[in-house]
Symmetry: C2
Subunit: 315 residues, 2 copies
């Protein structure tokens, strides 16, 4: 499948159980994914940059309480929301990222500002928020991010942790639902430019300032002149596997197609190590792929002449 | 050059000007590099793991006020020392990292503890220190890290910043000397295991919780069953280039030798983008290389049957 431009998104992968989801929630999730696709696609159709399209698509999911990013992010052990995000411009090779920010409604916008207005790639925690303030970002109160679903997930995780014996101070009991939440988008624009972006609330009940792959260029996000990738899953496996960049060099250094590269990376870096999750990728010819090795992945794409396609479990 | 085991270290690369260094300082730096090599090598010679050797070598440089890691780390804009470190075990593919820690004498030991005692890869700032406390690490007062040299470098950077016009709130005026300080070690042990580790105080006058490549698996540090790499330089270029992992896949995916892979990565990822710095690498056959594109790089190696070799400017 070749396309002159287009956008692919994900809203997280994991053990998304059909029986646990009400028809109302499912309908709402599918509608939000479509809205996200449309927001990004409309910009591409207007001739705007891939970079603008991925930010617009992610903002829709960050602003929805249904995804683990922005409003509706999962709770840390201490009941906060600490978010990570990365953006990369395939044309320039520039990138920006933030980790552990608590007061930013749209972390991906701050990541973009880091890329465009600072000489740095990664800013963390309070320092990143000081930068955000100087750049005119509004600081949101904790309540902005909080939802009852995430509060319940933390409560369940804490109870599970309490009841388990031999607790290691370094370990974190995870709710399966909270494990893989991340949102991401990759796009190809009419001028052939590629961009990738990822935004995440991380893991339910996370502690110790844990940062996942969503803050790391090459692990959770990559874009160059050939392809753009955003991942979602159990972040530590994606960090140790440098997953997003690995897919890119499977194309660049081993001459694989996008589809072959994606399959190889998922097999070598996730299946082989016990890592769970998925990714989305698009190349300069408009080929795209959305593999995952979990029960489901919230995902979708929109290409010229087509309707928005969204899926959760269906392969 | 093939060796059954051995260790290679760096103590930072950059504009290390001969005329700015007193003979006493130079003698002391060379002696500390030798001491670092010997500390790591002795363990390898005793049959200990590559992982133990890289930590021992780095601890010597962290404990010396002469290198930008541990005691003697550069000052942030606010007059603190905020440190990053990463370690990776090539045999298991496990990794641990910390970013923005202020109270840890040996950040590389905390990175190792993250790898071994937590399910995570990267912990940041106060959260990482909370984890350290629970794991029995001593919290050091700010004065432990401070040296007059670094205080003077911050003062010079702040004065330069003050006098420059059109200051962008996101920009950081760097002292050239503070730009590239990092320490690192890579080792091959008698059982053929590889390990890599990197520890850094980052950039003089850094702000906004800036984190560099020394905290990022794949950027500043990488180890697998084929090779181990630690980098030093202008971190943002190493992050955008995923430099350490790029060298590894130049070997794995393009069939290059270690030397070819290192040259290619330095050319493609640093020379081509204006990035400055260097790296050290060793492979499973004991081949090793220490390329850099700066005026000098503090570096050295020690292999069976040889004397400790240390160098600064000499090619």
């Amino acid at each position: 499948m070749k396309n002159k431009y287009g956008i692919v998104i994900h809203g997280g992968a994991g053990t998304i159980l059909r029986e646990k989801m009400t028809p109302e929630t499912e309908t709402e999730i599918r509608a939000t994914l479509k809205q996200s696709l449309q927001a990004g696609y409309d910009l591409l159709d207007d001739g705007r940059a891939a970079l603008d399209a991925v930010v617009a698509a992610i903002n829709v999911m960050e602003n929805s309480p249904l995804f683990n990013a922005g409003k509706g992010a999962v709770f840390t052990h201490d009941g906060d929301c600490e978010q990570d995000a990365t953006i990369m411009d395939g044309t320039t090779g520039q990138a920006g990222a933030v980790a552990g920010v608590r007061q930013i409604a749209n972390p991906i916008n701050l990541a973009r500002t880091v890329m465009e207005k600072s000489p740095h790639v990664l800013l963390i925690a309070g320092g990143a928020e000081q930068f955000a303030r100087e750049q005119g970002f509004e600081m949101m109160p904790p309540e902005y991010f909080h939802t009852q679903l995430r509060r319940d997930q933390l409560k369940a995780a804490l109870e599970k942790e309490k009841s388990s014996e031999g607790k290691d101070s370094g370990s974190i009991t995870l709710s399966e639902d909270g494990k893989h939440g991340t949102v991401g988008a990759v796009a190809l624009d009419k001028e052939g430019r590629l961009a990738a972006a990822t935004s995440s609330g991380g893991m339910t009940n996370k502690r110790f300032g844990r940062v996942g792959d969503s803050a790391i260029v090459g692990a959770g996000t990559w874009a160059d002149k050939t392809c753009a990738i955003s991942t979602t899953g159990h972040g530590e496996f994606f960090m140790r596997g440098v997953v997003a960049y690995d897919l890119a060099v499977n194309m660049a250094y081993r001459g694989m197609t996008l589809e072959q590269a994606a399959r190889t990376t998922v097999a070598d870096k996730l299946d082989a190590t016990g890592g769970t999750g998925g990714l989305i990728a698009i190349d300069r010819d408009g080929n795209f792929t959305l593999p995952y090795n979990t029960v489901g992945m919230y995902r979708g794409f929109l290409m010229p002449g087509g309707e928005p396609y969204v899926a959760i479990w269906e392969k």
